[in-house]
Amino acid sequence: MNKSELIETLAAKIEVPVREAVSITTTILETMQQALADGDAIEIRGFGSFVVKEYGAYTGRNPKTGEKIKVEPKKLPFFKVGKDLRERVNEEAVKAAKKKKKKKK
């Protein structure tokens, strides 16, 4: 699913015009991006959390040529899936695997 499909689904479910759903979605994502840009964490119960990890400078290698390169310090956002979502994603996979096995027999 991509952003425009999510927006259409959102518009239908909460019964607002699509352009309103576009603007709500933009606000939600912009709020989250701004928090991460400020170095803040995000915690959404049942969904997951985001933290910004800081990496110091290090000397890396170009894997193709083996050449040494300096890597500047950087920050990267990390996502940790929440317990509820993690379990439900996995449950579906387990169910699907069981169905497959039954068919084989």
Binding site: I24, T25, L29, M32, G46, P77, F79, L85, V89, A93
Partner: protein, 95 residues
């Protein structure tokens, strides 16, 4: 500081005068519910400009309990990963 769902609801409420507080809360809840349902179905979720949530199937493998060193079998499982967009990465690095 940590951003929570309540903060996001507040922001939606502030930016959208047409919505009541309850409607703003419902919009955020619904946004999250659609996202979760997509991932639970095993489908990836691409939010351009923000990032991509991938659903990956991991095969079962032999692992170890890091505390005791005992060998054990880790079952096959399905996990969610997140890859931040280029835009988000740039913004986090504050240029």
């Amino acid at each position: 500081m940590t951003l929570t769902k309540a903060d996001i609801v507040q922001q939606v409420y502030k930016n959208h005068p047409a919505l009541t507080k309850a409607e703003a809360a419902k919009a955020v809840e619904t946004f999250l519910a659609i996202s979760k349902a997509t991932l639970i179905k095993g489908e990836d979720l691409l939010l351009s400009g923000f990032g991509k949530f991938n659903v990956k199937d991991k095969r079962s493998r032999r692992g170890r309990n890091p505390q005791t060193g005992d060998e054990l079998i880790l079952d096959a499982r399905r996990v969610v990963t997140f890859k931040p967009s280029g835009i988000l990465r740039t913004r986090v690095n504050g240029s």
